[in-house]
Symmetry: C2
């Protein structure tokens, strides 16, 4: 077994996909330490030659791994050399897909060029909406939201809202359940009127306590007992108003966002 | 050739990777219209059986395509049926990677579970920093920024800042070049002091004009001549202060973010 390995993610576009693909695979080998580098925008034979020179200079004699999602066979050929372990992320899948669809693939670089403008405009609009409606701002405009995330401070509302907007073009507002609502087990009118689009985010009190301690160590706000009370009160509010809720503890931003879409029946492929 | 095809992205985790992988491939067949659905969190044989039932009910007789990144062979086997076109996004790559690394893969579900907490904390912190330093807010705290994005209104600063923070954990501030700076070809002190971490975002005047018309149709702000002047003045400022700049026109958020990292020598694998 190799104890460490140099690995390069090479793409004719941004490299975001090939990097995710490679990392999904390398994380299956936790005992090996990987030295990763992403090389994006390799679109010509000349680009590929330069990339190969750099790789060989850095990883000479180490049989580096190259993961590639380059579409052009001529460009790809430059990198598929006996001195490296070359992995084509697409080849096998694309060939089979051509057979199954009874059609020829374009084999042109750059997935992102195929993103249509409407989809991009929708994401930009969602990001601006999300920032303008973060942390309880402009609640009168909640009619326009696709989603309203409710939760106590530091339950993860903002990161999840931002992710939903950035990646999926979902106009997501978020609203903090502060003491004025928690103590009365109530919600403001703008949320009650839009509660069909509201979802609660909760958290284990211990996790919340740790998060808050990082911000305001030793404060009443950060105390475990405060966190316990707030989480209990927030959950009671969700139950009272029949608002579904999920826990953010131990989950990544991606996992929480995906669960929210599932719970609310929001398709991210539209 | 099929004119349309039902395609399902199935994952034991969020499904974000398998969806990106599938879409990178399907976009190579622009003449075929794909009906896409993502089914995340398929972790048990029972989950897979339910997913298959749903797929067969929706796509009976249509030979739907299933793209999968499910790690567990038992779970995967349920979906790999003669009635569907089953594509395993990992199999071939993972088998070869085991040979090349001389090690056995874990084959446990959920890439995101392998994300370490430090990386997640860094992203959450970057998102909060980004929101607190959007559109010129809190410039006195620019010392803490990894990156400061400068540009005229609607050049794309906010979406790109948010993307850099959310996906890459980069603390990115953004600052609007408004008339008070453009007219004098100058920058405020907080940016001059941090100009090594500043990058300019520019745009074709025609594109800017269209973007602004959507917001404030018929205004002086949106006029093509205003856009031309502002873009020219902004570029002159970047040149005067030796700040690199790139154009956002015709590019996706991902492409702009990737180019910024390249230009500024920021590694996204750290």
């Amino acid at each position: 077994m190799w104890s460490s390995k140099d690995i390069y993610y090479i793409s004719d576009s941004t490299g975001i996909l090939v990097e995710s693909l490679g990392q999904a695979l390398t994380c299956q080998f936790p005992e090996i330490s990987f030295n990763e580098e992403t090389i994006p925008f390799i679109q010509t034979v000349n680009d590929a030659q330069k990339a190969l020179e750099r790789i060989m200079a850095q990883s000479v004699g180490l049989r580096p791994v190259i993961f590639s999602t380059i579409m052009d066979p001529e460009v790809r050929k430059v990198l598929d050399r006996p001195e490296v372990e070359f992995f084509d992320g697409f080849a096998f899948l694309l060939d089979r897909l051509e057979v199954c669809l009874e059609a020829k693939a374009l084999r042109t670089p750059g997935f992102t060029h195929h993103l249509n403008n409407d989809k991009m405009d929708k994401r930009v609009e969602a990001i601006h909406y999300c920032l303008d409606h973060d942390d309880g701002t402009n609640p009168k405009e909640y009619d326009e939201a696709d989603l309203i995330i409710l939760g106590v401070s530091r339950a993860g509302k903002t990161p999840v809202s931002v992710y939903l907007a950035t990646q999926m073009g979902i106009k997501s507002a978020n609203f903090p359940l502060t003491s004025e609502y928690l103590g009365l087990y109530s919600l403001p009118e703008h949320i009650i009127n839009n509660r069909k689009r509201a979802i609660g985010l909760t958290s284990a009190p211990e996790v919340l306590h740790q998060m808050r301690e990082k911000r305001y160590a030793g404060s009443t706000y950060a105390k475990l007992s405060t966190c316990r009370d707030e989480v209990q009160q927030a959950q009671q509010i969700f139950l009272n108003y029949n608002i579904p809720y999920i826990s953010s503890s131990g989950k990544s931003i991606e996992e929480i966002a995906t669960q929210i879409c599932q719970e609310m029946g929001i398709s991210r492929n539209k």
